[in-house]
Symmetry: C2
DNA sequence: ACAAACTGACCGTCTGGACGGTATAAAGCT
DNA sequence: AGCTTTATACCGTCCAGACGGTCAGTTTGT
């Protein structure tokens, strides 16, 4: 009678609701219906709505970090490793990324305090990036561009076409590669 | 018994509420209280809550476009004018920018359909940028970086310190200036 | 006097969450 | 092996507060 995967199910259902109906409709009951359980069940797993949203954020952040570290391991050990792997991860958006977006929107809409979870994590990651041996201005530029891309996609505001997107990424990859080690 | 400046007052009050209490608390009653009128008064000017949010968006977009065009007029007539002036505008965030952010958040939280207003405008502006004579990849990069900056500021997620910020802007200004016309 | 500007009481609906109950399975007891 | 206890997983009902919006009426300017 163990059910840790039920948790995952509910999280996924929540994300589904948000991306189909919008955050305004992220209600405990709709999440329950989407997952095929009762509202009571949702509250059994997440004692409060905020807890649900927090979990959406948390699981996304964990996933994203792991994904990043995996790509990082494959990157040659030259300055800019962390930046290049982060760019690689950002190129291929996953369903998990949508969950992150949904979680962020839900957080903003319900209790901005929840954003604290993201704030501390991103600040940590930013510190890692700045130990990467690349000019801090370039580092910041890359981070901003990635965020901008996520932002456009999230709200559907003039999201760039695939080709333009990959060209920008390529340009940034180049900026994150030190001159002395370039092979191409 | 004049109307138009009362409208502005209400819009400003709405923005105040959002930035102080969060979008979740953007309620007709709170806006009314903030502006020192009754809820009925708010509904007298904006027949619906969506209309209020729409107006927040609209006034911001109008203001932003005008600001941009003013800076553009001061820019030397070389390729990249539009980009450089846009960057200049984005350097010095105004209270109006916050209203734009508040409006966007409110739109997302209440009725994502409202984002359509932004979508069409930004798409238009993007078209203008691409007639600016600068490599489309650079153009996109600059737009993304600006959006990323707005995004970080809006949610308070690792907003870069002032100095780093102006260095990135300077870097981008440089990218938006054709080689042949550089004077510095 | 007449319209525009504004009020405040009221209503219907929605939603988070509390709560008491139920089914199921495992553990303990004999 | 049979019976009781207990903890887990979940259901369905109910409620109190909040919020958008309506409306009949009142004030204010001209």
């Amino acid at each position: 009678m163990r059910k840790p995967e039920k948790l995952e199910e509910l999280l996924s259902a929540a994300h589904q609701v948000v991306s189909r109906d919008g955050i305004a409709r992220l209600t405990l009951e709709l999440v329950a219906r989407e997952a095929g359980v009762s509202k009571g069940a949702v509250l059994y797993y997440f004692s409060t709505k905020n807890a649900l949203i927090g979990a959406m954020l948390q699981t996304y952040l964990d996933w994203h970090f792991i994904e990043w570290q995996e790509k990082l391991a494959q990157e040659p050990e030259t300055p800019g490793r962390a930046l290049r792997s982060l760019l690689t991860v950002s190129t291929c958006p996953d369903e998990m990324d949508q969950r992150g977006g949904a979680g962020m929107l839900a957080a903003v809409a319900n209790d901005p305090e929840l954003l604290q979870i993201i704030r501390t994590r991103v600040t940590e990651w930013d510190a890692l990036l700045h130990k990467d041996g690349i000019d801090p201005t370039i580092t910041l530029l890359i981070r901003l561009a990635i965020d901008g891309l996520k932002f456009c996609d999230l709200l559907g505001i003039a999201p760039p076409p695939q080709e333009a997107r990959s060209q920008v990424i390529a340009f940034l990859q180049n900026l994150a590669t030190p001159e002395t080690t370039k092979t191409e």
